[in-house]
Structure formats: structure tokens, C-alpha cells
Amino acid sequence: MSGTNGRIVVVGAGVAGVSAAGAARLAGYEGEIVLLGGEDALPYRRPTVSKELVRGDKGPDEVRIKPASWYEKNAIDLRTGVRAESVDPTAREVRLSDGSTLGYDQLLLATGGRPRRLAAGDSGAVTLREIGDADLLRERLDGRPDVVVVGAGLIGSEIAASARQLGCDVTLLETAPLPMPRVLPADLGRMYADWHAAEGTELHADVRVRAIRPDADDPSLTVVEADDGRTWTAPVVVEAVGMTPDVELARTVGVRLDDELGGVQVDELGRTSVPDVFAAGDVASMPDLVRGGRHRVEHWQNAQNHGAAVGRAMAGVEKPFDEVPWCWSDQYGGTLQITGWPESSHTIVVRGDLDAHDFTAFYLDAEGILLGAVGLGRPREIRSARGWIGERRRLDTTRLGDESVALEETLVS
């Protein structure tokens, strides 16, 4: 039952949950909206955890998604520090960590994810996802200790850069031959490898980490051990090896999960397999309306805008979510932007100069249809590319790299 009355319960006060609650209200929902946040903090901008917060450039008050007054103004009953423990979909009730139960007419699972770990148990390494993790790491970086970061994905690369900027000696370990292998092709990975070297971050690629454990002689140190027997020992070890969607609550609801992509399967309006139960953000595996099939996206823009679209659908304003994914990453003061699906491409054309950190790389399929783009310092080209990816436009690959030709003129169809 979507409509304008009743009670919506949103589980998870990350950006997907907050955006859904706000969008449902703005779309005219007049019933109750309860927003359950498992974390104690007022909802905050998670991307700052590996950047501004860990460097101390911003404090917790400067990274809120909305001011505290916003929730009251929009009659959103935000309950922080309260977890949903289980759901009874027949009784339409959520059991909460404070022992109470809460009925719902519509339920949104916006539970995001947790850091993936190489092994269970306390290895001595820290992970980074919540605001408290940033506080802890910042304190530990105070005396500029040596730092080992395991994993050179987006987050690991950012943490390495942040720690380096704070003056630490940083070693960055990656299984793949180059950094950010999931989102960047070789040319750009190489550019980042060079960038780390220029900044004095020691990158070791092709390293398969086998174990992380406290040092037997000195428990203040942590040891990272590779498959080939090499070890690195440091006072601070950060484990940044990806995230796992949090489906713990979803399992109690009995919604269909996505075995391949992880997370909860939803349709183009965010509906799960159980009536009146929706999912949004990092936890949702959704139809990919541009390329077909399904995808699960782990970026801020997707969580924010998918959450809003699903919130509107819950208020009865049903418009399929078809945005092209889009994300950014800050390393050493340069803002990288990635849009679409560069990893699935056939042809790459670079416009600009990689070494000068001023370029857009375009990713196309065999027919010249644009699939993705990655840029540094060129937000306008990324914006154009994002629109064209959604429209499945074709570009002239022979002229695309020529900066004397206006970008628009390289459109073929």
C-alpha cells in the first residue's frame, strides 16, 4: 500500500534513508515517518570519513547531511542509536534494540553495508566506515606513525593519501597489478601509481595478503603477511578491502536476496519481493535501465538519489530510477570523477594530459557507444559524458582525443 497516509519506517539513517524520508515528505506523504539510525551520530556525509574527518580538516558538526532542525521541521521522527533487530512481515512489526516494537504500513531497508574483513577476529587492523572509525584513526595518526594500508581501492587509496598528507610514512598494498583495479583501467591505474610514488607513498602491487595479526613480541604493532612470505609491521594497519551489503535484517523479512551481486533485489521502484517492503542505496541490487541486467552501486550519488526516488515511490509518486552512476574520489588534492561503467568498455580515448592530471578518459564499446568516463579537473566534460551514457550516444573515436575539436562535435548519433 503506497499512499499518503499510515506509517513509513526507514531502517538505516545513511544518505539513502535520510533522502528517502525527505523525498517522501516533499512528495506529499502525510503519515508518520520514523527513521531508525543504528549509529549514535546525527546522519553525516560518509565520504568525509576517509578524507576531511580523518585528516581533521572538518569536525563532526561540519559534515551533517541535514541540520538537526530539518528532521523536526519535516516531522521525521529520527531515532539515533536504535537498531532494528528483526521484522515480522505478517504482523507488519519491527522489533527494536530497545526492546519495543514498531508497526509499519511501509518499510524501507536502507541498511548500507559493513567493511569486508579478510578474516574474522581482532587482527589489530582498523577499518573505516563510521564516523567513530575516523576519530579513532585520526588519534592513532597523531604521532605520525608508520602506516600500512591493505587494499588500494577507492577508500584504501584515499586513506593512504590522507595519512601521507598528515606526514606519515605510508605503505599501500594491493593484490592487483595497479591501484583501483575495479574502477580504473591500466593507463589510469599507472598514473595513480606514479602519483603515489611522487608523493612518497610506497605502493606494492601484486601482493596477496594472507594474514593480519598482532605482533607476538610487541602487541602495539600489527603484522601484515603476504602469500609470498613477505611481511610488513607497523603501529597502524588499515584494512580497506571492500564492503559487504548488510542483509542481516533483510533475512528476517524474507525478501529475495541477490546471490551474485549481494544485497536485496528490488525492481525499478525499489520494491522487494515482499509487499510494502522496499530497499535503497548500497544494499539494493536494482535493474540497470541503461545497459539491461542488474547492478548494485556503492556510491554516494546513487544512494542519495535512489533513496529519494524510492521515498517518492512510497509516497505514491512512481518514477523508475534510471540515473547513470557517478562518483568522485579525493587523493592528494585532486578530485577524480568516474561516471558510467568504464570497466566494461572496449575502446579508451583520452582527451587531455594524464601526467598533468588534466584529462577526461572516454570508454566506449566496439560500436563507439559511450559507456563510461573518468576525469580529473574536467567536471564539465564528465557532465556531458554522463548525459550521453544515459542516452546511449555514439562518439567519433578518431576525433574524440583531439582537443581542437569541440566535444559536442564528436557526437555521431
Binding site: G22, Q301, Q304, W328, T335, Q337, P379
Partner: protein
């Protein structure tokens, strides 16, 4: 006075408040911000902002 929101990251530019960190005093109109200005949080283009109804 209008409010503009970054579509990528949700950063809010409020004309009434301006953005002193980059030299835009309170009251600076959106059209007076240079076209090559980018979002302070995520680097999106000025054109990636939309005028917004602030709930």
C-alpha cells in the same frame, strides 16, 4: 534569495549565506558565480547544481 543543490553530493549553495571560503560573500547570486566554479565537496560542475525547494 535562492538555494542550489549539487546533484551528485547534495552540497547546498545558499545565496543568502554565500560561500566565504571561496570569496563569495553572503548575498552572492548564483548567476554571479563563475561558470568554471566547481562543487567544494565533490568537484561537480556548476551546471550540475539544481535550484531546490528546501524541505
Amino acid at each position: 534569495m535562492k538555494v542550489w543543490e549539487c546533484q551528485q553530493c547534495g552540497f547546498i549553495y545558499d545565496e543568502a549565506q554565500g560561500w566565504e571560503e571561496e570569496g563569495f560573500p553572503p548575498g552572492t547570486k548564483w548567476e554571479d558565480i563563475p561558470d568554471d566554479w566547481t562543487c567544494p565537496d565533490c568537484g561537480a560542475a556548476k551546471a550540475d547544481f539544481t535550484m531546490t525547494e528546501v524541505a
